[in-house]
Symmetry: C2
Subunit: 369 residues, 2 copies
């Protein structure tokens, strides 16, 4: 069963939603003229990208709206078997910020303000001390990102949010300054190297599938031990790497970044996120974490489906000219991040090829615009 079909079986079918997204994007585009009276200009090429960008004069402004997805359901499952389970809300909040920030930086922005939206289904949720851990995690992630936590909204939505859980999302804005740092794919060219930066684990994508495997394919569920002693549940809740410091260090050292991709939903298909005709030929795959190996084995999932669903050890990608590769690797290592010189951009029809695994993802398998 393919990952898409696994998701459909789990009640999550993104097909009709993708159609709605396309209609929404057309409607959104038609409102762009509202910027004119302010003397602002939209960067139309940013529509449908990871962040929406406008030119406000002295610099560009990028905005993002993002959410954690269903990762906190793992926290709520652990709360039933682990008396310290509520502590993992810290990771859930951190990851929500990470999802916002790692999208924001792909367009060349530096994060400035992050706002929170935490919606619960019942005030009963507050009886655990999850709230205080959320606050800790959100604050720590804002500091890690170099952004200020502006404000937020914390509604109780009885009848909309399931009792006992929480919906974590938020928004961020950042600046692109100088404007030349805007990174939307125009600079991408054949010959660019694709540098994959290590992930910390699953991050916040593919969790629906991970939860399904814990429930249906693992007799010990989240308590299943991994070779390194962690449980599967603990591994899933490893805080997501935030790549803001790395991106800023690269810009500060004048690395010529041609493109960036946040490896989230759709896994390695995200490497062809740019709206360009290129082959992304990967010759190297990072070591993927044990939790991926466990899921692949227990769920009997093909390599093709694993790499099209999960980040498989690669959380973020920088596309740079060949002579910049060593510099990126050195700067990444200074920030304790492994950087793999893993692939090359080539002329040709849009597709991702993972040579060691004989996988090809044709362009039509990533339709996000």
């Amino acid at each position: 069963m393919s990952a898409e079909n696994l998701y459909k079986a789990a009640g999550v079918d993104y097909g009709p939603l993708d159609e709605l997204k396309r209609q929404a994007q057309a409607a959104a585009l038609s409102t762009a003229w509202n910027l004119n009276p302010h003397g602002f200009l939209e960067i139309t090429g940013s529509r449908g990208e990871s962040a929406y960008v406008i030119d406000v004069g002295p610099f560009l402004l990028a905005t993002v709206q993002e959410g954690l997805g269903t990762k906190n359901l793992v926290v709520e499952a652990l709360k039933n078997v682990d008396e310290n389970g509520a502590l993992y809300y810290k990771a859930a909040a951190w990851d929500t910020v990470a999802m916002i920030v790692n999208d924001l930086i792909t367009v060349g922005a530096v994060p400035v303000v992050i706002n929170a939206h935490w919606a619960i289904g019942s005030s009963k949720w507050l009886e655990s001390d999850g709230g205080i851990h959320l606050i800790e995690g959100w604050k720590a992630a804002c500091n890690e990102s170099g952004a200020t936590w502006g404000g937020g909204e914390t509604p109780i939505l009885k009848g909309i949010i399931e009792p006992g859980t929480i919906e974590l999302s938020g928004s961020g804005f950042g600046i692109i300054h100088p404007k030349e740092r805007l990174t939307l794919g125009d600079k991408l060219q054949a010959g660019d190297h694709i540098i994959l930066i290590e992930s910390s684990g699953i991050h916040a994508n593919g969790l629906t599938l991970a939860r399904k495997i814990a429930e249906e394919n693992l007799s010990d569920g989240y308590q299943t031990k991994l070779p390194d002693g962690r449980t599967f549940g603990q591994a899933l809740l490893t805080p997501t790497h935030i790549y803001a410091k790395l991106q800023q260090a690269l810009f500060a050292k004048d690395v010529d970044i041609h493109y960036m991709a946040n490896i989230t939903g759709h896994g390695w298909r995200k490497l062809m996120r740019a709206d360009k005709d290129f082959i992304y030929r990967m010759h190297t795959t990072p070591n993927s974490q044990d939790e991926f190996k466990l899921m692949q084995k227990a769920g009997r999932i093909s390599d093709e489906d694993m790499y099209s669903t999960f980040n498989m050890g690669a959380g973020f990608a920088f596309f740079v000219p060949k002579d910049n590769v060593e510099r990126v690797q050195k700067i990444a290592l200074e920030l304790s991040l492994q950087a793999y010189d893993a692939g090359v951009v080539e002329k040709g029809q849009r597709q991702v090829i993972i040579e060691p695994l004989k996988i090809v993802y044709p362009g039509e398998t990533l339709q996000i615009r």
Copy 2:
């Protein structure tokens, strides 16, 4: 039973949440130093206000994170009895934008970008044509607000969002330009007149109570007829007035706006939103819409509880010097909005007094910081 107790009986107790909000605000404040490397400065007085404001040099930037609350549950209830029920998602989307924009403008900002966050519990939700009406409503409200619809996120959150419903929220940012338009309460003074601008009905606050009344106190529920022929359900789904054009027209005509309040949750207690010691003495109440009268009668709710829960016909307040009042009323009328010269700011301990109804809300009944 007081409105607070009615809410508690309905499973919505904001007490513990308010404590969490205060802790979150303290944590958020501690991240403000992250702005320094950008050369930006936060307007600390905006923390806990309707929008968070920072100084980015040529102008101020205001950001808001907001949501619709539970209003769309009325749409979902109507869908069961009205074959055109899905049409009301247009109003739900419009109102979500209205909630964002009417908060954003209170600090003196002009809305620039609005982003959407629409989370559903199952792809089944998409089987109705609600999605297309959401798009229409969101777009129309952005145009009404003079903002561009940047982007958004549309996750399927199985296990977090109840099946069959949707959680509507979003974010906005705007600019305050010139900076002197920043409106945080510092300009507020004794003698200022309080001008109430008509609401269009319930807007998006007090819906939990309204739904409870429809379910428990009205035999025909949402189908209950109002004197003007509308049903109670239709009345609740009247699109919220967006006050952005009015605020901009007032600024354009050099009205000396001392303060603005969006009358949302906490009803008329929001008139004392400014963190100042003043008495807000109201001598006039607008005619409240029939839906309020129906709820008050059916739910046997006191005036005190009605005015501390609902807007009661007054959706927004401008606080201006006496000699600006006529100008505000004239400009509002040009935009087809009734503006009531309804009260006066006086020296004294923070409280709202509604004289015609002999109601006093002491300062401690509005703790939102």
